[in-house]
Subunit: 326 residues, 2 copies
């Protein structure tokens, strides 16, 4: 079973076919970075059209059991998430509404301070806000997973501890392996995994040691080390694949409409666009390389199967509905 817990591609039939070629059973796709509620609904609508247009390739994913259904019918189950809480605006009632529409992950912040918590690019991290605590409780109630991939350390640790259900960092690597601002320090990963949460490893070059030149061996060794530190069962993949996107998209991700000035985020003035992916992971057809690389580290077949998908499957099964139901 292969599950990728984050992609934001420029979706097309080509990519859906590559998912099938790569044996990808489920993908968590981002459908909001800066969108408000109504704009996010337009993105749900866009996916509804794709489900109608490509019924043999993809299907809407709402529950872990949809992954079984996708496997039985040779399709990829698409699960929705937001990288920002902008879709719920200032309205806690929208948490249940977006969950009903199919959202299963929501980041409490995207780089900046939000109404709920502090993003990883702010200079001061004040932790979870008053509204943030109410929203985490509501997310726990309905089964919308707290994702802290783009949040600051204190906010992430507080979210892991305050949340009554496990949280996730869907796409990031370990800071000790590659000290990027978005990669996660030991105390952060520990707080998340000790509370039952998950870390999905990212293939986005800015998160990799030596960026686009990162080797498969180095990437897999990082995962094997994390398995020793935090337990294999808390680890998965969240590739952050942004396939076929123009560079204008990465600029929009970074500045949305919150700034009139350019912000290069993980890039720079000389390299503002998407960096090239490492040769061994260019698209959905390359998940087999990671699987092979992980086996070469000495991880057991069961451990590798867990990291490639089994661990996310179990996490989805436990966390996507009201607690009483799961």
């Amino acid at each position: 079973m292969r599950i990728d817990c984050l992609q934001y591609a420029n979706w097309s039939e080509k990519i859906f076919r590559q998912m099938r070629e790569g044996g990808v059973d489920a993908v968590h796709v981002t459908i909001a970075y800066h969108e408000n509620f109504r704009e996010t609904v337009l993105n749900f609508e866009k996916w509804n059209r794709w489900f109608e247009q490509y019924p043999d390739l993809i299907m809407k994913g709402q529950w872990a059991s949809d992954i079984d259904k996708a496997r039985e019918t040779g399709r990829t189950a698409i699960f929705f998430g937001f990288q920002n809480p902008s879709p719920i605006e200032d309205d806690i009632g929208l948490v249940e509404i977006v969950h009903t529409l199919g959202a299963r992950f929501m980041q409490l912040t995207y780089n900046n301070q939000s109404l709920l918590a502090t993003g990883c690019y702010e200079s001061e991290d004040t932790g979870i806000t008053r509204m943030g605590k109410q929203v985490i409780k509501e997310m726990n109630r309905v089964g919308l997973v707290v994702d802290m991939s783009h949040s600051a350390d204190r906010s992430t640790i507080e979210a892991a501890e305050f949340s009554e259900r496990p949280i996730a960092i869907t796409h990031a690597n370990t800071y000790e392996w590659s000290p990027a601002l978005r990669n996660k320090r030991d105390a952060v990963v520990r707080a998340v995994t000790e509370n039952g949460g998950m870390l999905g490893f990212s293939l986005y070059p800015h998160h990799l040691k030596d960026k686009s030149d990162c080797t498969l061996e180095s990437f897999c060794e990082m995962i094997a080390r994390a398995a020793d530190q935090y337990g294999t069962e808390h680890l998965g993949i969240g590739s952050d694949l942004c396939q076929d996107q123009p560079d204008s998209i990465v600029e929009w991700m970074r500045v949305g409409r919150w700034s009139k000035e350019i912000d290069y985020g993980e890039g720079s003035a000389t390299a503002p666009g998407f960096p090239p992916m490492p040769q061994w992971f260019e698209d959905n057809r390359h998940f087999g390389n990671i699987e092979t690389g992980l086996r070469a580290t000495g991880l057991s077949n069961d451990e590798v199967a867990g990291i490639m998908g089994g661990n996310w499957y179990k996490f989805f099964a436990d966390n996507f509905g009201p607690k009483s139901q799961t």
Copy 2:
């Protein structure tokens, strides 16, 4: 089994308890008259709160099987509908979105011309519009029922014929019994029922012969006559009960924000508010009176059971999901 296929009360614990006292297993409640999409979502949110607050009295209804669940647990299943297509704005993608959120009926018009069809108060009825045809197809696809209670005759007949699935007039009576503008002429009822659709009989005094003074006998005789004309299996109740609403609400229903001038609709300058309900049907506890009244007309027990709920149950089972699923 008792199903009421239209109410718009000023909801409260008192009314939910009266539903239980009256043995009402399911109610179709209106959650939009003039609201746009975002405002309608606020109304879904309001109901989510009531489902949380009164889990022993009410539950969200999405499928006919939820009525069985409600009966097993001694609750009333609440199904959502709109009396206007305003919630989908000019966006056909919202048809599937509102269905996912739980909407199961949508009127193509509320008295006035809409983007989709002509309302019953317009002087010219031009039938189903270009967008109206597209929206009916989409409603057919997802399982959102076309309701023509407040539509003009030609539009209603065209909708019944164009729709590939049965449509409904959830709340109105026969024009021959009481020639109110909102009551339905023989050709209209015939077009709806001959295409498998349903007529729900209304207790709103403006739709009754002699209004608030209408007798139970007269009301039930009208139903018995309709059973002869159109077949019992196409008949149900849609009480149009607007319990505990202030008169300001009926004014808002009539003028929304489309007019700066007052419009009295079925009322008049001297009687602008809600007329008193007939003594034998004041609230949800009085459904037994209708049942008794129907039996007295000579309809069989099975026929009466169908009209009180069984016919709507079957209609819900056939029409609330994609056709392949049902």
